[in-house]
């Protein structure tokens, strides 16, 4: 039988409104609140708690948990479930994320809503399995072959792990695109207080399902029921639309058009523009002390925590420093960064890698100020004074 979201049941299973839990578990809570009814997973540190949390709770809310044979299978099953009508997700870390890349692109190409949580650990390769990093930020954007757009969140707190998982579902449903929660081993294994939102405060978005006459329905074109919307209505399997869904370049009917340049261009432009056109709406940032800032930190995820402390140290010492924290990292809030670059003399980007998000930020700054990276690797979060040093450097 098909899953039907039962808010009362979900809340029974989640328990008390205020809890002290792991970041990973908060992703589970977020998924369940959003109405996730399928999780395909494969164990990997530091993301296993997400699978474990789902394995415990999904059968109790009427959803399905399957531990797949590997991460390729996990994301595949997640995409299949989405076509069957489920909201679905998986969670992994670096090595598993690498394995998912081909089907991540398949989800983008076939406009499949689904959520991937990546609790990042250090790499390359097996790296430091238990320790956090932000080394997959570029892979999230460019890891699969071909042109596509990424939607990715970066939580800095356990509460945000839950909130952003819900939001990731919302955006994936809205744009019919995979959405990522790019958390990391630091936040994923952090225990903090969370408040579970009341049902009335939850804003959930569901994909717009195809409802029009089956003979008139065109599956891979602008919505036929909403004006100026490049996201097609979703012909859930089993509802009689009999849609052919392929990762091959396809025409508007969904039929392979592998040797047709115009079909490819039309398709790939639409699936990227549906997100790019809305880039301004997708900006989600938090600003600290930016009004009079001469130096700005631009950061995200776990790195925002020590950076905030460094900023406060700077302010105490009379340095006019502020901070822009990105909650949505992809698409990059280019206009925000551009405006900031015109105001400040320097942008510093602390991140737990040797420099990844610093690149699109530098591109957005477009030469209006200096943009430098404040890297930290090795499975440790920055110490505030390590970040602070960049304020004094000439």
């Amino acid at each position: 039988m098909k899953y039907k979201r039962d808010p009362k049941r979900i809340r029974q299973v989640l328990g008390k409104k205020v809890q002290f839990i792991l970041g990973d578990m908060a992703c589970v809570y977020g998924g369940l609140l959003a109405g996730c009814s399928f999780f395909g997973g494969y164990p990997i540190t530091p993301a296993s708690e997400v699978a474990e949390g789902m394995a415990r709770r999904l059968p109790r809310v009427g959803g399905t948990y399957i531990q797949m044979e590997d991460e390729i299978g996990s994301i595949a099953a997640v995409i299949g479930a989405a076509w069957g009508g489920a909201k679905s997700m998986t969670a992994t870390s670096g090595p598993g994320f690498s394995l998912m890349m081909e089907n991540y692109g398949f989800a983008a190409m076939t406009e499949t809503p689904c959520v991937i949580v990546n609790v990042q650990r250090t790499g390359p390769s097996t790296g430091q399995p238990t320790l956090g990093a932000q080394g997959d930020m570029m892979q999230a954007r460019w890891g699969t072959h071909g042109d596509f757009e990424a939607i990715a969140f970066a939580p800095s707190t356990v509460q945000e792990c839950m909130d952003f998982t819900i939001e990731a579902f919302n955006l994936s449903e809205k744009y019919r695109n995979p959405a990522l929660v790019m958390t990391d081993g630091e936040v994923g294994h952090l225990r903090e207080r969370i408040i579970i939102p009341e049902e009335k405060d939850l804003k959930l978005i569901d994909r717009v399902e195809a409802t029009i006459d089956k003979k008139k329905f065109i599956p891979f074109t602008n919505s036929q029921t909403r004006k100026n919307c490049k996201v097609p209505d979703f012909p859930t399997f089993g509802t009689g639309y009999r849609t052919y869904v392929t990762g091959l370049t396809h025409n508007e009917k969904g039929f392979p058009a592998t040797d047709k340049q115009p079909d490819h261009e039309r398709l790939v432009k639409r699936i990227t523009e549906k997100i790019i056109d809305d880039a301004d709406k997708l900006v989600s940032v938090e600003k600290f002390n930016l009004d009079d800032a001469e130096i700005a930190f631009v950061t995200y995820g776990a790195s925002a925590r020590p950076t905030e402390s460094a900023m406060e140290m700077g302010r105490k010492n009379g340095i006019k420093v502020g901070m822009l924290r990105l909650k949505i990292v992809w698409p990059v809030p280019e206009k925000e960064v551009h405006k900031l670059a015109k105001q400040v003399d320097k942008i510093i980007v602390p991140e737990m890698n040797l420099g990844q998000m610093v690149h699109p930020i530098r591109e957005a700054a477009n030469g209006n100020c200096e943009v430098i990276c404040a890297p930290k690797i090795g499975g440790e979060i920055h110490y505030p004074d390590e970040v602070y040093k960049y304020l004094e450097a000439k």
């Binding site: 395909g40 595949a76 995409i79 299949g80 989405a82 089907n103 009999r242 869904v245």
Partner: protein, 293 residues
Amino acid sequence: MVEVKTAEELNKKFLREGMWPTIFCNGCGHGVVLEYTFWALEELGWDMDKTMFASGIGCSSRLPGYINADGLHTTHGRAIAFATGIKAADPDFNVIVFTGDGDCAGIGGNHFIHAARRNIDMTVIMINNFIYGMTGGQLAPTAPLGSIATTAPYGNIEHPFDICELAKALGANYVARWPVSHPYQPIKSIKEGLQKKGFSLLEFLAPCPTAYGRRNKLGDIKKHWAWYDDNTILIEDYDKIMKYGSVKEKEEVKDKMQIGVFQDIQKPGFFELYDQLMERLKVEENKKREGKK
């Protein structure tokens, strides 16, 4: 139940409009397997709105494109994992996977193994043409010893994969192999496989004249089909000869490919067990709540 009588009527009912002509070469066996599947579906009278298809990449994996039903044409080797998700979203769906020897036994082997082990409720129709057809004739894991492929130009020295043996060992509920050269047993067998709860595998031996037949000198399509008759033996006959036959008879059949139904059992499928699990949790929870009152 059977409403249509001719192949034309059958095609009109089951083929997706606008996808003709197919990509298949003259003499390709994939269309034949599709035809047999249509007959089986026709005899079953299934609701095609609730019957859906998944496939990987390869010529054989193009089949769902030609069927007037929901179809998910996925990535190379992964169809069974995708299909697992489709089925999980609504276990009332009928889920059928079309795959090739390369897709299923090569790159997708692990998904195949675990779906069979889990006894996921789906039917996998693997078309074995002993070759990677779509990419122009590279070595397949099912290729007979000595056969020629572009990447085995001096003859294959790898032992071929018997995918039915594997499925049997994993406890799949229904396992059968047929050549395309006979219609009746395969259609009956597809019907049995489709109706089965749990995992069912149907392997078809089908010609790829372009990439396999030509290179391996199997001759025209008539001779190619005759090859199946000469080189296969019904499992019942094989067993009888191995038990009671003369040394000469045994020698004659020992290298032939066995065909027929290899396994037909009733282990509970994954989703039946999952339902039971959910039911058990409900009962336990209710008990707990009662106890607290």
